[in-house]
Symmetry: C2
Subunit: 212 residues, 2 copies
């Protein structure tokens, strides 16, 4: 049975799950969530897909999962990929997935939304500046981790990489400049050269261009 | 060997790990981190305890772990407690731990810090108001999840509860009013009535009172 992922191109959190599915080789297909049209807030979505209005949501037969890190965990269990080679690596991967949720993707996703998907007059400038300060510290930490390393954990691509890169390929400006963080820049190139890699707007349905 | 947890009373993230250790029955002891004195930014801490300057850090013989969710995972593996009774529960717990890191504790911890541990004139008012709006949505979601349920996942206390409650017992104001969320209020009481429960300032060394 083909795994279904309810997702949309603009969501870096959905991208983390979609990229794990795509690179794992499992059979999957995207189901477009019309987030900007309010679909995740609709009674139908809450009843049929996710009671908390979350995206992405993965459905594999009777298994329905949300939160990208949980979907990645499931993909790893099913495919044997990206989950680390022992319990120490598994915990180190979880550490980075949690850090990403706490410090990197949460802030990057929110800041990109505020700067690109809200009308200019509604953008909270002080919040954006504050978030960019926090993000600067997160980029620096990640850049340091990638000094003399190809991957965040161990010696191959794992869910730590597939989580932390979630928002970093998007073209819309949110204060992230790849060229200022050479180790991150090289690592993003390395991920994008992995067999089967696709940009979020090519991997999932929906992009700002559709609404232009 | 006694497990050591580098922690401090003011940290709700440290509390999540300390509370899991305490309620698990494992032998552990706290090691005070002088966060407000800059210890996590010192070269010694970075060299000896955690290269990223994180707290809490758990040390059990040769095992050194950071990120509260990773420490909880380790405590569950070692004690057999709080990790869920099967893989479906384990994933549902991970879902809530990730959600907490993304939406609840990250925002609550930051907002409490800004409102209580920065001088009045340095408090970014627009950021605080924005965060409180986000937190309101998170409290409502958690309150709904706890409707007709004693615990977030399954029918006993798990790491989902021990994660989400991390910042919710602190007395310093950050916009959270227990009485406005009756299911959260009852759930916090339920956790605090668990055998062995302690308030963060009683469980870990250091509190604002020490610096008053």
């Amino acid at each position: 049975m083909t795994i279904k992922l309810h997702c949309f191109g603009e969501s870096g959190n959905a991208y983390k799950a979609a990229l794990a599915l795509e690179l794992s080789g499992l059979a999957w297909e995207p189901v477009k969530v019309d987030f900007f049209g309010g679909e995740t807030r609709s009674p139908e979505y809450r009843a049929d897909v996710n009671n908390l209005g979350e995206a992405p949501v993965m459905i594999d037969g009777d298994v329905k999962l949300s939160q990208s890190g949980v979907i990645q965990d499931y993909v790893s269990e099913k495919s044997g990929k990206f989950g680390g080679k022992d319990s120490a690596e598994r915990r180190e991967i979880l550490r980075w997935v949690l850090w990403d949720n706490h410090k990197l993707s949460s802030m990057a996703g929110m800041t990109r939304f505020l700067m690109n998907f809200l009308p200019e007059e509604k953008q909270p400038k002080e919040v954006i500046a504050f978030n960019q300060g926090r993000l600067g510290a997160a980029y620096e930490l990640l850049n340091n981790q990638l000094e003399r390393r190809d991957w965040i954990v161990g010696d191959s691509i794992t869910n730590a990489d597939l989580s932390c890169c979630g928002y970093l390929y998007y073209p819309e400006p949110f204060g992230f400049d790849r060229s200022a963080f050479p180790n991150i820049d090289a690592w993003l190139t390395r991920i994008s050269e992995t067999e089967g890699w696709k940009h979020p707007y090519d991997l999932m349905p929906g992009s700002p261009a559709d609404r232009a």
